[in-house]
């Protein structure tokens, strides 16, 4: 037995005890304040930005897609749809902006899913922080990606001859609207990301939703050329409203009702899907 016996460790706190349970209990507050929530979200955004900088391949989609798609679609469809490329650009550039921003949303969901499978999320769950912070943080960091995607599309457009009549302010407005809408819609994909079993599944669902939504819209073709039933769908498709609003701002410098509807739709999406995401995240524990 001698091999097993052991001098018991001192169980009474040492004289220099630095941890005081009673004080800790008294200090502990019951809820996270809004200011703490914002600060925690920003800390999470810092983490996401660090990760982006260390994994530059995360920027591939927001750089290559605008470069490639803008040039490709303009030169392939330009002649057929608008007679020539120049006349097609005011139609297609806002369309590509909307499409790029939406596909960027998708990777928000995919990356959240990948992230949630890592050990560090266990710690986030155990920390006394707002439950929304680990979800909203990466999304705040993703604003950078939306900004790159939207701006780059306009830049490529201008290089190949697009002259937006809305002027710099109109284009800026269009970019901001696209960034806001992208951020709002990303909450839907964040929710998918929490619910799905794997990152691959998120990608699968997202493609299934996004592909029809972006192509069955007014992003690439004038609505007048479409058959009746499809035309109705396109009219109600929210992507069409985003595209129209972007066109109104960039091409005409007008704050049209389309802009208002798009903003409203974005707010509604956030109001529904942000709480839904937080709820699912809590359950996911």
């Amino acid at each position: 037995m001698s091999t097993l016996t052991f001098d018991p460790t001192p169980t009474t706190p040492a004289a220099t005890a630095t941890v005081d349970p009673a004080a800790a209990v008294a200090r502990a507050h019951a809820r996270v304040s809004p200011a703490e929530t914002v600060s925690q979200t920003l800390s999470m955004a810092w983490r996401a930005l660090k990760k982006m900088r260390r994994n530059p391949e995360q920027f591939f989609d927001v750089t290559f897609q605008p470069l490639l798609f803008t040039a490709m679609f303009a030169y392939i469809f330009g002649g057929a749809i608008s007679g020539n490329v120049q006349r097609y650009l005011p139609l297609i550039i806002p369309g590509i902006v909307a499409q790029t921003v939406l596909t960027t949303c998708m990777s928000t969901g995919v990356q959240l899913r990948e992230d949630m499978e890592k050990g560090v999320f266990d710690r986030f769950k155990a920390l006394p922080i707002a439950r929304i912070a680990p979800l909203a943080g990466p999304m705040v960091a993703d604003l950078v990606r939306y900004l790159i995607a939207a701006s780059l599309t306009f830049v490529v457009g201008v290089i190949i001859g697009y002259r937006p009549h809305g002027g710099p302010l109109g284009v800026l407005g269009a970019i901001l609207l696209a960034v806001f809408t992208g951020w709002a819609i990303a909450w839907i994909f964040t929710w998918f990301g929490i619910l799905a079993r794997s990152a691959r599944a998120v990608q699968g669902y997202s493609m299934m939703v996004l592909f029809p939504l972006t192509f069955l819209s007014n992003a690439f073709v004038p609505v007048g050329t479409l058959p009746g039933g499809l035309r109705t769908f396109v009219k109600f498709n929210p992507v069409s409203h985003l595209v129209s609003a972007t066109r109104d701002l960039a091409n005409h410098g007008v704050l049209s009702s389309e802009v208002g509807w798009t903003l409203l739709a974005g707010l509604v999406v956030i109001a529904i899907f942000a709480p839904l995401s937080v709820r699912s995240y809590k359950r996911h524990l």
């Binding site: 037995m1 001192p10 502990a28 810092w46 155990a126």
Partner: protein
């Protein structure tokens, strides 16, 4: 529950589908003690810890930490508790310093304070050299230490450690044990789970043994071990030794027949007191019986389990009748 109770839980239950992972566990941990939860894989140790740490909803029963209800006030519980899981929960893409800084910021430290805390903890855990290396380059022991450091940023009064040394080499394990003792010396209360009897024995003031979601025994390490039986002296007799004579000699010393395995000339001698081992060896020498090898085996977790539950820790005997000895050692 008294004012000095750190963890108080009654009738904790957690079911997954029809399976009761935790099946009515009561637990009381006093402030300033190291409490060990001992059990094999799948016994429900981690599930119990997760419920107490607000990471899993409690299906039935009640739990409180320092008098704060776990189910009703999860946010307050999270401020009282540091949790270090079985797998390092730090961010692989960040450096050690960045990890600790982030966790400090998230818990309300100012940027400069978070940096100072990170620096202090890295020094305390002997990780200064690796401070600016990505975690991906860390060894298992370093990750565990960083993980524990991350749980201590706000100096919580209660620390949960889920199998803190599983997979560590003996030297690193010893370091981890020292660190845990230091925590308690600072006034922390530690609740740890382990699969190793010797770890619980080395560290814990009290142990409860968990099997299939139930507590089958509780007591100090000594109480637990004496309930299980004592060490065994394993003798390998040299070729040609008189086994019959050896058995008689040993029997006279310990007052109990040893278990002989004649084919391999092995003999297992149950010992009441470890001192008896010396007497046995001296008696064998005096009788001129040569010995090839000697070892003293401590009771293993398997033997503890066999004694307490009537089945071993393996998965293979799920069919055996459930014989939970309602053995409560106080």
């Amino acid at each position: 529950m008294t004012p000095t109770t750190a963890v108080y839980a009654t009738g904790l239950v957690k079911s997954f589908g029809g399976f009761r992972a935790v099946d009515g566990i009561d637990l009381t941990v006093d402030q300033g003690e190291i409490y060990g939860v001992l059990g094999p894989n799948g016994a429900g140790k981690t599930t119990m810890l997760k419920m107490l740490a607000t990471l899993l909803p409690i299906d039935a029963g009640q739990a409180s930490l320092f008098g704060v209800d776990v189910a009703r006030e999860p946010h307050r519980i999270r401020q009282l508790l540091g949790v270090t899981g079985q797998y390092a929960s730090v961010d692989e893409d960040l450096t050690a310093t960045e990890n600790l800084w982030l966790f400090g910021r998230l818990q309300g430290l100012r940027s400069a304070d978070a940096r100072a805390t990170a620096k202090r903890l890295l020094a305390q855990f002997d990780l200064e050299e690796a401070a600016n290396k990505p975690i991906a380059q860390f060894s298992g022991g370093m990750r565990r230490r960083l993980d524990l450091a991350a749980s201590l940023i706000t100096r919580p009064p209660l620390i949960f450690l889920d199998e803190p040394t599983t997979g560590l080499d003996p030297r690193t394990r010893g370091q981890m044990w020292d660190t845990i003792r230091d925590l308690v010396a600072d006034g922390c209360t530690v609740l740890l789970t382990t699969q190793y009897l010797d770890e619980a024995d080395q560290l814990a003031d009290r142990i409860s043994v968990i099997d299939r979601g139930r507590k089958v025994a509780e007591g100090t390490p000594d109480e637990l071990k004496s309930s299980v039986g004592d060490s065994t002296l394993q003798l390998q007799l040299a070729a040609g030794a008189d086994q019959e004579l050896a058995a008689q000699v040993v029997g006279r010393v310990v007052g109990q027949e040893p278990v002989l395995t004649p084919e391999s000339a092995r003999m297992n001698v149950p010992l009441d007191v470890a001192d008896d081992a010396a007497d046995v060896l001296i008696a064998l020498r005096q009788a001129e019986i040569p010995i090839a090898s000697v070892s003293v085996a401590k009771p293993t977790l398997d033997e503890v389990f066999l004694a307490l539950t009537g089945h071993d820790t393996g998965e293979g005997d799920q069919e055996t009748t459930r014989e939970h000895l309602a053995l409560e050692i106080r």
